[in-house]
Symmetry: C2
Subunit: 197 residues, 2 copies
């Protein structure tokens, strides 16, 4: 009888192992050989799933983005406007160890994507999704009277997105000034833009 | 007669070549061998200056930060308060091709610094210098009545710093939404926090 292997499950295990290695030891440590060893697979067992390191890296980043997306969906599902926007931001900010690990992975991803159009495209797709959500929530917030009309929605959306990207860097490298409390305060300052005085 | 070599000058040439390679072809392309070839040096001629790739990378990032610092000093020398802060932000934002190249180098640096405490320390030192400048200008701006007193100076300073870091990512990867015009508008939105209504 042929051995039954759940390929989707194996793929998931490989990606899960890879992102942990990148978060803790860096992108250079995530070789196909090391990932196989750490996942408890035979050397060469990764290739059928991910023929190249680039394909493994791309899948790993897609996995991290999906984790974040699922968390965002969970906390914003029942909310609208300013409340949804606030919940979204709190999910994206690296406020705990797990999300700091995700930030380390995303910083590695950005460097990797600099010279890899396929990875850069993945980043663009996620940013576009976030941008659309932020804009929709901002419009709802404005309709509810939360946002001063003098600020254009799109510019506010981009400013917020830029801030959230920067927080990934700030929390990882400059942790003393960017503890969870600090980051939440920064977010309050930022969202202060959206509250009517 | 022994050949006279200006070591400082050679060091500068190596670092200048390295940052251009990183900006255009990525961190992995900046091997000691490739840097030597592109700088027109004999293979092995880099080692006396930079014995390891890590030492070359650190010096290259220090060089990029120094370039930015010199520009900042030049535009803020005669200014104070809000005006100095505004000029500082415009220098840090990647508003032209040269600074987009610097942003690509700094994104590479962040990834490299994730697992290199010496590089992370360099980043911290620069951030501390920027943080001190931003806080001082904010206090001057507030004393001149530009900033609403309800926002704590330190939180506003960190929010601005986080935004400026994020702009390096946004402008490189999401250029359509982060043209120079867009980034200047985002900055205006951000600095709107500091203007008295």
């Amino acid at each position: 009888m042929p051995k039954i292997v759940d390929h989707e499950h194996r793929r998931g295990e490989i990606v899960e192992t890879t992102w942990r290695i990148i978060a803790r030891r860096g992108l250079d440590a995530a070789t196909l050989r090391d990932v196989a060893a750490e996942a408890g697979f035979a050397n060469g067992a990764i290739k059928p799933y991910f023929p190249t390191k680039a394909s493994l890296i791309r899948a790993t980043f897609a996995h991290v983005f999906e984790r974040t997306s699922r968390r965002i969906d969970a906390v914003t599902e029942e909310a609208t406007g300013f409340e949804a926007l606030h919940a979204f931001c709190l999910e994206v900010l690296p406020l705990d160890e797990e999300r700091l690990d995700e930030a380390r992975v995303v910083i590695s991803f950005w460097q990797s994507a600099l010279n890899n159009p396929d990875q850069a495209e993945l980043n663009d797709a996620v940013m576009l999704e976030w941008r659309r959500k932020i804009r929709a929530w901002l419009r709802e917030a404005r309709a509810a009277g939360a946002a001063p009309a003098r600020l254009p929605v799109d510019a506010v959306a981009e400013t917020l997105l830029t801030f959230l990207l920067g927080a990934q860097i700030a929390a990882v490298f400059d942790a003393d000034f960017n503890t969870p409390d600090h980051l939440e305060t920064q977010l309050e300052v930022h969202l202060g833009l959206l509250r009517a005085d």
